[in-house]
């Protein structure tokens, strides 16, 4: 190396020292968030699993609309000429006219017909023949129905409510856990590899935390919006009244509350991950959070028809993202209640972020065995 250009190769130039100064808090947050997002978007497994999930959702909705029609088979009913006119014109029956009652009996026995109708001695004048089980839909069609008046025809179907509860629960559970684990992995990766020391020398710990929470929240929000869009698009394709009329507002509330709730969970996951030094210990550190996420998931399945339980859950920050949309769907609350739930959740999230930032900042350089939460707070 020639003595005339020392340092050139390393690119240092002491005569013109750089006066860049420290990267600002939000600039650093942005750079960290950008890396989090790009790392995920470039991950094939992330893209593929998201795509599969969307396909399943749209497919499920379309199938639930047209599926039953595919499997609806006409019931083959054997009968004799005298009764045939009475059966013709009934829906879903395939009538097989035979010459004698005995032939009908044989056809049912051999399985050639699902059921048979022959003249009988009872008040209806009909005798229904079947193998083992009463063909209830056929009997219903041949019976005289009493008059019926529905007092609340628009009340939610309990089965449907149950499935909707499971739906919100699963989406909340899956997204929160997936992205929660992602953020935890990313925190412990930095801690384990010690790159965090290099980062801490350049930017504040809180900016790193903020960047991670922001980046992953953007991803989680994006995924939830995609899921919501898939549900609504599926509903539009099939013209489903349920999806279009009943679930529109609940889905909007779900997206809003989930996004705020996820910021809270993401901050907690980051703090929990900062307590450990190796990714093997992540499970232990994050299991309390797993419980916090699973409880609302199970509670909404169990209590989907219990208005009081849902009301309480809608004011508890951890379960609000699931309980509020259910209550909106069931229309069991005043118009302002979701806003109150949102306010409580947002306020609680601010507190949680302050707490998580403290734990994160103080545990980041502690290596070895897992740091206890209370030690992390003591500093």
């Amino acid at each position: 190396m020639s003595a005339t250009a020392p340092g050139r190769a390393a690119g240092l130039n002491p005569s013109a020292p750089n006066h860049r100064g420290r990267t600002g808090f939000w600039a650093a947050t942005g750079i960290v968030a950008q890396r989090e997002i790009m790392t995920r978007l470039r991950s094939k497994s992330f893209i593929i699993s998201t795509a599969i999930m969307l396909v399943l959702i749209v497919g499920g909705i379309i199938f639930s609309a047209i599926g039953p029609a595919l499997f609806d088979e006409d019931t083959t009913v054997a009968t004799v000429a005298a009764i045939a006119p009475a059966l013709q014109g009934l829906d879903g029956l395939d009538i097989d006219m035979l010459s004698t009652a005995d032939a009908v009996r044989q056809a049912v026995q051999s399985g050639a017909a699902d059921a048979g109708v022959v003249p009988g001695s009872g008040p209806s004048g009909l005798l229904v023949l079947a193998d083992r089980e009463a063909p209830s839909s056929l009997i219903q069609m041949l019976s005289v129905a009493p008059e019926l008046e529905l007092l609340d025809p628009n009340a939610p179907d309990p089965m449907l409510t149950y499935y909707i509860g499971i739906g919100f629960g699963i989406v909340f559970f899956m997204s929160a856990i997936t992205f929660g684990q992602t953020i935890a992995q990313s925190v412990v990766e930095e801690k384990q590899s010690r790159i965090v020391e290099i980062m801490l020398a350049a930017v504040p710990a809180r900016a790193i935390l903020a960047g991670k929470v922001l980046g992953n929240s953007v991803l989680a929000f994006g995924q939830i919006v995609l899921i919501a869009a898939a549900v609504l698009v599926g509903g539009a394709i099939t013209g489903s009244q349920l999806v279009l009329d009943g679930l529109g507002m609940p889905i909007v509330w779900f997206v809003v509350l989930f996004t705020v709730g996820f910021v809270m969970l993401a901050a907690l996951y980051a703090a929990a991950a900062a307590l450990v030094s190796r990714s093997e210990d992540l499970g232990t550190a994050t299991s309390p959070l797993m419980m916090l996420i699973m409880i609302p998931y199970f509670a909404v399945i169990i209590f989907n028809n219990n208005p009081l339980a849902l009301q309480i859950m809608s004011y508890v920050p951890f379960s609000a993202p699931v309980a509020v949309p259910m209550r909106v769907y069931l229309q069991s609350q005043a118009w302002w209640e979701p806003f109150l739930s949102l306010a409580i959740l947002a306020a609680f999230t601010v507190l949680v972020i302050a707490f998580a930032a403290k734990v994160y900042e103080r545990s980041l350089l502690k290596t070895g065995s897992m740091v206890k939460w209370k030690d992390a707070l003591k500093g």
Binding site: M1, P6, G7, R8, A9, A10, G11, L12, N13, P14, P17, N18, R20, G21, R22, T23, A28, I31, V32, R35, T39, E189, E190, Q192, S193, R194, I195, V196, E197, I198, M199, L200, A201, A202, V203, L365
Partner: protein, 293 residues
């Protein structure tokens, strides 16, 4: 210049650093030597602001160090770490941006640096796909990518093969030559002795010796000479001289002054033939063993 003033730090009541002061001069390679657990890493973390000192101050060019100063330092932590699954060039750009460089400048700088370190062709490979030596080079690049105004490297040579030591050394020397203070730690005294302009010996959280090799030697040894002749018994009779070792024709002695030593030589020449006369240089290693005790 980087100066450390009276830094102390304890962990859970255990003293890691006690009243540590030293200086890292611009343009000099300063070696930080000490056994494992002597407090080298703690001191470096405090300089970088990654850890807070219980008391004491770090100064840059006479003024208390600021976050802005630190953001322009290059740092290599003891346990190596970059993102294993991120491409080398990409992570250099990421780190440079966190240190305040624009993406474009960071990209150009990362290109040049990887080329210089012989990693040009591997720039789009993930870190984990590189050999250990190359990962180490990438780590050096990470400390240099934002054009630092000072370098603090914790054990930069540990685990390096001789080739990689030379490459790394060349890069560090470039930085020092450009006028930046360079501080690096090692528990291998021989490495430090060979590479450093200046040394700081740390033991049990205290500075036991500091200065250039010559200064440290001067401070910790009385000048000694060794004479080889036919019969060296006469040396005992010369004033200002104390014999340390004597065995027939071989004698090792200390002298109060160079004059006294010269008298010994003159006397020896008059008495017979002198096979050898030379100052005995005490190996730094010996001094190190002594001061860290």
């Amino acid at each position: 210049m980087l100066s450390i003033h009276a830094i102390s730090r304890s962990f859970n009541g255990q003293r890691a650093l006690h009243d540590v002061s030293f200086e890292v001069h611009d343009g000099l390679m300063t070696g930080f030597v000490g056994a494992n657990g002597a407090g080298k890493t703690t001191a470096m973390r405090i300089i970088l602001g990654v850890l807070a000192a219980d008391s004491g101050e770090v100064h840059v060019d006479g003024r208390p160090i600021t976050a802005d100063n630190r953001a322009q330092f290059g740092y290599m932590p003891e346990e190596r770490g970059l993102y294993p699954k991120m491409k080398v060039h990409e992570q250099l750009v990421y780190l440079a941006r966190l240190h305040g460089m624009t993406a474009a400048a960071a990209g150009r700088r990362a290109d040049a640096l990887l080329e210089q370190l012989g990693l040009g062709e591997r720039r789009h490979d993930t870190l984990e796909s590189l050999s250990l030596g190359n990962q180490q080079r990438a780590q050096i690049a990470a400390a240099l990518v934002h054009e630092p105004t000072a370098l603090v490297l914790d054990e930069p040579f540990s685990g390096l093969d001789p080739m990689a030591v030379e490459t790394t050394l060349e890069v560090l020397r470039d930085v020092a030559r450009s006028g930046a203070p360079v501080l690096f730690s090692s528990h291998q005294l021989d490495v430090v002795e060979r590479l450093c302009d200046s040394l700081i010996i740390l033991a049990h959280g205290e500075v036991r010796a500091a200065g250039t090799r010559e200064q440290i030697r001067a401070a910790h040894t009385r000048p000694e000479w060794v004479l080889e002749t036919d019969d060296a018994g006469f040396v005992r009779g010369i004033g200002g001289v104390e014999v340390i070792e004597f065995d027939g024709g071989h004698v090792r002695f200390t002298a109060a002054s160079d004059d006294a030593a010269d008298r010994v030589l003159r006397e020896a020449i008059e008495r017979g033939s002198v096979r050898s006369f030379a100052p005995s240089i005490r190996p730094l290693n010996e001094i190190f063993q002594e001061v860290v005790r």
